[in-house]
Amino acid sequence: MRKTTYIQAINEALREEMRDDESVFMIGEDIGHYGGLFRVTRKLMDEFGPNRVIDTPISEQGFMGMAVGAAMTGMRPIVELMYMDFFLVCADQIFNQGAKMNYMTGGVVNVPMVIRGQHGGGKRYGSQHSQCVESTFAQFPGIKVVVPATPYDAKGLLISAVRDPNPVLFLEHKMLYFTRGEMPDADEPYTVPIGVADVKREGSDMTLATFSYCLLQALEAAEELEAEHGISVEVVDLRSIVPLDMETIYASVAKTGRLLAVHESQSNCGIGAEIVARIYEEAPHLLTAPARRLGMAPASIPVSGPLEEVLLPWKKNIKAAVLETMRTPTFA
């Protein structure tokens, strides 16, 4: 087993898919000659040339629309948004177009494309460069949402995303880029299926369902909670939130009886609220105490480091939420 960074894992997936399938191409700002602002697409232009690694002007609605159009002809475009917050300048092509196309054409035309890029707080980028977007995308059926936390999952899921016949949003948290993890050898092909959660830590007292960078924070929190309070937290890595693998959550809650969902997109109408609502619809009997969620507090991300920390649902806030969840009396 070798170790790679999260960035390298993505870069490998891009390279391999570009090699394997001529219909895959990439489009975005500064991704070619420069290799991407975050160096995720490094050296891909050297291998695949400017016809398949396309540097664009700052015209997101335009090139997102071009990706939708190309995908409608059977190409498999991969669009990089430099910061995910910029989805708001090209939201029409993503939601009114890409996401709805298969449905409103009665399945006559599908849109196999990937939108990828980094999002998230923690680096003091402020309100317009830090927002987590997964819950917003989850409100538009027709697009899948993938949120890997480890290099292994990132590579395996990106390959699945590229091969998927639907638009897939692939979210990279900026705090994950330089994290490292174990990987099969470069010549050992593998994929990770979209829509299957993974228990990243076993535990018996409660279930914590999360993904992306929050997963790393939750794992640290779980260790500390075990040491400090003797609370045993099972941590489920959702890996994708559309589709959402509730079965794995239920299997875990069947064991623990308690559920806390954690995510960095807004708490209000977030995926955490959805998970809570879903379990009460489908499996309320599993719960021995109220299910809860913790998301980003109702504010946009400030630049000031200490303020950012107050708001983000990271270790400190996760620990508090776990303790709160454990404190709530059981129904019986």
Binding site: P57, S59, G69, M72, D92, Q97, M104, G106, G107, P165
Partner: protein, 340 residues
């Protein structure tokens, strides 16, 4: 009188009727048949809408038929086309079956999209029809993406996209014009300038007098033509397609035309006068073509036979569509995701 500048279709700058070669009479006759078919389908749809059988937004292209029919003959079946909610005419001209078209608008199971897409979302990839769009301007970068796909694959296909005068100031147009020109994409931008953007004359919101001159600022080749003259449309599109296929990049074509019906079924049409519409009836595509055919020796009787055949055919299509079943309730939940 509203402040609109009503421009006679013949008073256009770059190409006049005299400057294009004549098409064979039998081709023109076929074009007449197609134009009349489109007209009858749309008139029927308007009637159905007015009788409450069609909900939502139903936009007809009555008066725009010239651009669609001229284009269809000038391109290959494989060439990609995208258009607006006002897109029945392009689809029919490219060969869409009127039965399935009308059934779709009525939301029936025999519609080309099982009744899910309706009037604003005409599509049929087997005819190169890659989608009408309900969002002004959205179909334009999509067509450019199809052109880009062709360029990457090197398969010689080109793309054409239709949009209106009102779409010109949607930001994505600017983005697409620049990239298409910079990358020399094989695409034709066809503006059906009917002088109105919904209920607003384009002169009220455009800072530019002549839109076709605007795109020259990108270095793009651009012409303004009489969009009601199907021969002019044919030759202009054909030439643009040849340039595109030869790698010489995009062309912008502004076809001056006029919509004879309201913006959509239910339009109060308070923004224009009866006289204005009446005047335009003298220049409309079916009249222009009919006069040509008569001039070139085709008899009124021949044309009448064509019209009668089409009348019967469209009546049958309407009948078919109205008898088409509603889609299964279960269809509501399918097609959210493609399965493979």
């Amino acid at each position: 009188m509203p402040e609109s500048a009503v421009k006679a279709s013949s008073a256009v700058a770059e190409i006049t009727v005299d400057s294009v070669p004549q098409l064979p009479v039998d081709q023109l006759q076929n074009m007449y048949r197609m134009m009349y078919r489109i007209r009858r389908v749309e008139e029927s749809l308007l009637e159905l809408a007015e009788s409450g059988k069609i909900g939502g937004a139903m936009h007809t292209a009555i008066g725009h038929e010239g651009s669609a029919v001229g284009m269809a003959d000038a391109l290959q079946r494989e060439d990609y086309l995208t258009c607006t909610y006002r897109g029945h005419h392009h689809s029919l001209a490219r060969g869409m079956d009127a039965k399935r078209a009308i059934a779709e608008v009525l939301g029936r199971a025999d519609g080309f999209a099982k009744g899910k897409g309706g009037s604003m979302h005409f599509i049929d990839p087997s005819l190169g029809l890659m989608g009408a769009n309900g969002i002004v301007g959205a179909q334009v970068p999509q067509a450019a993406g199809m052109a880009l796909a062709s360029k990457i694959r090197g398969d010689g296909r080109i793309a054409i996209t239709f949009f209106g005068d009102g779409a010109m100031y949607q930001g994505v147009m600017h983005e697409t014009f620049n990239m298409a020109q910079k990358w020399s994409l094989p695409i034709i931008f066809y503006c059906e300038n009917n002088r109105y953007s919904e209920m607003t004359p384009i002169t009220r919101t455009s800072s530019v007098e002549e839109m076709y001159t605007f795109v020259r600022a990108y270095g793009m080749r651009s012409v303004q033509i009489d969009g009601n003259d199907v021969e002019v449309v044919y030759h202009t599109v054909k030439e643009a397609a040849e340039r595109a296929r030869a790698g010489e990049g995009p062309t912008y074509i502004e076809g001056i035309t006029y919509r004879l019906a309201g913006h959509m079924a239910g339009d109060l049409e308070t923004y224009r006068s009866e006289e204005e519409i009446e005047e335009q009836r003298g220049y409309e595509p079916l009249v222009v073509l009919k006069n040509k055919l008569l001039d070139r020796g085709v008899s009124e009787e021949t044309l009448q036979v064509i019209r009668q055949e089409v009348d019967a055919e469209v009546e049958e299509a309407v009948e078919f569509a109205q008898n088409s079943p509603w889609p299964d309730d279960a269809e509501a939940y399918t097609d959210v995701y493609a399965l493979a």
